[in-house]
Symmetry: C2
Subunit: 540 residues, 2 copies
């Protein structure tokens, strides 16, 4: 082999990403809106200074290369500071999912080997429930806005105040761990992955491509997705690299305050899960003309499938473009994005909507394939359903310290996503179901996602989740749980008649449950396991 | 160190870049206009097929990993096929600059160790002049459109026709050489660099960022810059990765045919050196309303500094946005890009033009600094002039087999560009001169670029180059060589009076030469060495 003559020893590090924000975009602002509506605003020059102080403080506390520093925080600027400062000292930022049960948090923080936790003062009661289970824990840093700090804990602001705003950055190997996330663990125990500097840098470059999220210096990004959810889908890194402004809503994710913030901060890009966007769409529909979203170039929806009715509703009724993306904690998370291709530009709105409702085709350097139960690779015919497998430089090659999960990685180097999908000739992936949510009726697969998409297009339905009920004859049959809008009413007969023209007869749900709300996971997906547990035997 | 758990062994290869075009964007077209005006058009699906055939053919000819395969070709689709097929077999694509002197070509092709040359039938006479000097040469492949192929040479189309369009790609190490370029060697002998798969992939990702070239699937890119000029600035790779259409003008770079092509192919992005754009601007000015360039989102100008008058003329008179970029063969080539920052959006047109006339600030993962003669790093004060140094994953760390050039690389890991520049507090680099073109009058530096920019803003001047004349008292004094528009006339006194308010008195040229044309280098830059040679002693 004849190697290139370029600087191959120049490592791809997050330090370069974050330093760039301060060096070139020092005047661009970072905004946090607190629960009481007050605004904290500063610029990347301030941010850089404080990141350096935090890095120095971590060093003074004895944080060394490879140490895991956890955060238990809402979405705000100091959490963003930790994103930069922890990997800058060579340590690993571990964003804890504050909505998990204390038992899961205990398992996760202990399994990760967290030695320091940075926690919001408001979340100390959560930390108190599992702190004693973290074997290696030796320091807690509390972020407070003047509220008293318990004895024995460090005060975030006091630590920073004692440090220089110049930081002597260590040399970092690009394969070194930079950040760590655990899956929310809806099946089995949570599994952790460690993103390296390299993988996150490459993910950031890909995400900033015009055909991906197109993040640029002119953007003002509302980070609705929690910063513990696959590190807010990597958006904070994209923002720092390009100098885009980030706007953090802290913990208030109600639709109206979010919409107010989108107007007042002239948001250009906002990212979150479908359940959030569904609520926002309902608020927009109920208050025509109240919010001016003309600055918004796009919303990014991921985490679970965006129903076509939502994509269409945003676009047609409110002029808001919705981009669907698919990914997982194990893919850092960007895997596919649903851009409509050039040759489809003269297709009808309905045809384009059909495309846009898919997960999309793979971003550069992510490979996709789907396989049957015997690991035979299936054709890209848009029909055959199989388990989606992916590989690429920001896809997990293994779980952290978890040999039991080895079967999620194929011998030829692919990660088994657990999603059941088809892929069409253009490369568009369509997710039919999480494999754990698949409904198998008399040996035939029924896609809960397709049924949900159809139900959510019904004018009276706000949310719908379809899950498997145990059935004496067919093994499993679909049950639909729906939440109606406002004080609407509808009958099972009406909904069955509504679905009938769209699906084969055996796909139609055997039962409809009318609920006040649907259970959701810690990251805002429908929690079908809870529905199955409570209602799964009503057919038997 | 605790490594990440991601797939670090997934290599960054050009194979993935080029395969992506065929896999996802098979319907998007690739266009070549021949010298006779005829159009060749096919799509990425055809391209992928033929690239596979060419890879198979190269293998059959015995091309192995690390072999250098040269091209001596104009800008056309078959050259683009070689871009993909050569690195796909693990070999190194060496694009020869067909405008160089045969002696230089002989040195370059032999020094590179080229074993196969792919040559346009029309360029066989050029190859014949130096072919015998290439020690390792063992095969010549001729690209012809039916013209007879000399005995002993391979016919490109016949080779492809004999091969399968399925290719079994080898495993490639990302640091492996993929492409090779030599500097045009205006000073000293030519120096070669080998781009690795990794360096070109990273360059491609950075170039596709919205704030860089923003190349996307909707683009139709006119590749005016020669494909041997730092591999057309990497644009072919960006196009393949995103599915953008590329339009090749083959060898006809006259302004009117280029403008016709921009209209007929609805070009969205075009890239070339300032001398080309200057001629295009003149054609636009002379023919108001003749060409509809409404599809054009941007022109990218690089290779040498774009005069402010040109940037302004395009924008104000023709609504065409000009983006200035700086780079070198040694930087793959993208180093800096001149985007106007968000906080400058309300500046006056003149203030923004002043910014846009600079080389710009560094793209992500390129570091910039400038140093004085003793290698002291200078402040970013927008004033201090020093040699620009850069580093980054797509910057050369050494020249290929050329120990004599070691002093171009600093002990602390930077590449010395040879450009004299200032850097301001916002990170904008402004190139004052190539170090070899600097004029040093009585110990003071005079920027030839600034004088040229001022002269080219004069309504009667088409082109201007300022160079150093030997002077008995001041060592060197500036001489301006100008080409007037059409049949304009102007005197030395008029030009001196025009410059006087803009510069210190000692900057004003001692002499003005009125020439019919300016000598240019093989890549279209002003060839000041030729001017110095011919006119350098007229002051002594």
């Amino acid at each position: 082999m004849i190697p290139g003559t370029m600087m191959h020893d120049y490592p791809l590090t997050l330090t370069a990403v974050f330093e760039r924000a301060g060096t070139f975009f020092g005047r661009n602002d970072i905004v946090t809106r607190a629960l009481d509506g007050s605004i904290h605003r500063y610029v990347y020059a301030d941010y850089q200074s404080r990141v350096h102080q935090l890095s120095n403080a971590l060093r003074r506390l004895g944080v060394e290369s490879g140490d895991r520093v956890a955060t238990l925080c809402w979405n705000h600027y100091r959490h963003y500071e930790a994103y930069a400062a922890v990997p800058a000292v060579g340590a690993i930022l571990h964003t804890l999912n504050l909505r998990l049960h204390a038992d899961d948090l205990a398992y996760i923080a202990d399994h990760a080997g967290d030695s320091v936790v940075i926690v919001d003062q408001s979340l100390l009661p959560v930390l108190d429930q599992f702190k004693s289970k973290i074997a290696k824990l030796r320091g807690v840093i509390v972020i407070s806005d003047g509220e008293p700090i318990p004895d024995g804990y460090h005060d975030y602001e006091a630590l920073l105040a004692a440090e220089s705003n110049e930081f002597d950055a260590p040399t970092i190997d690009e394969n070194q761990g930079a950040a760590m996330c655990y899956t929310s663990g809806t099946t089995g125990r949570p599994k952790g992955v460690i993103y390296s500097h390299r993988s996150t840098v490459l993910h950031t470059l890909a995400a900033c491509m015009t055909d991906a999220l197109g993040i640029c210096e002119n953007d003002r990004i509302l980070v609705v997705v929690p910063m513990f959810h696959a590190n807010a889908w990597g958006i904070p890194y994209c923002a720092a690299m390009t100098g885009a402004s980030v706007i953090f809503p802290e913990r208030d994710l109600r639709p109206e305050p979010l919409l107010d913030l989108m107007v007042s901060e002239r948001i250009t890009l906002a990212a979150g899960v479908p359940t959030i966007w569904n609520a926002i769409l309902a608020a927009l529909d109920e208050n025509p003309g109240r919010w001016d979203l003309s600055a918004l170039r796009m919303t990014v929806v991921g985490g679970s499938a965006a129903p076509p009715a939502m994509i269409d509703g945003f676009e047609r009724r409110h002029g808001v473009h919705v981009l669907q993306a698919w990914g997982m904690t194990e893919t850092n998370p960007l895997g596919t994005l649903c851009r409509v291709k050039r040759h489809m530009s003269d297709w009808s709105d309905q045809e384009r909507l059909n495309v846009r409702s898919k997960a999309g085709y793979a971003v550069p350097f992510v490979d996709t394939r789907h396989v049957d139960d015997s690991e035979n690779v299936l054709d890209w015919d848009g029909q055959s359903l199989g388990e989606l497998e992916v590989r690429g430089p920001w896809v997990a090659g293994r779980y952290y310290n978890d040999d039991e999960q080895k079967d999620r990685f194929t011998p030829d180097g692919w990660f088994k996503t657990g999603d059941i999908a088809s892929i069409d000739a253009e490369g568009y992936v369509q997710i039919a179901d999480r494999s754990k949510d698949v409904i198998k009726s008399g040996g035939e697969w029924i896609s809960s996602v397709e049924l949900e998409n159809a139900l959510m297009a019904h004018p009276k339905i706000l949310e719908a989740a379809v899950f498997a009920g145990v059935h004496p004859k067919w093994d499993e049959r679909p049950i639909a749980a729906v939440v109606l809008k406002g004080d609407e009413t509808v009958t099972k007969q009406e909904l069955t008649a509504y679905l009938e023209p769209k699906f084969a007869k055996f796909w139609l749900p055997d039962e409809f449950l009318f609920l006040d709300e649907l259970p959701k996971t810690s990251v805002g997906k429908f929690k079908k396991s809870a529905l199955r547990e409570k209602y799964g035997d009503i057919l038997s």
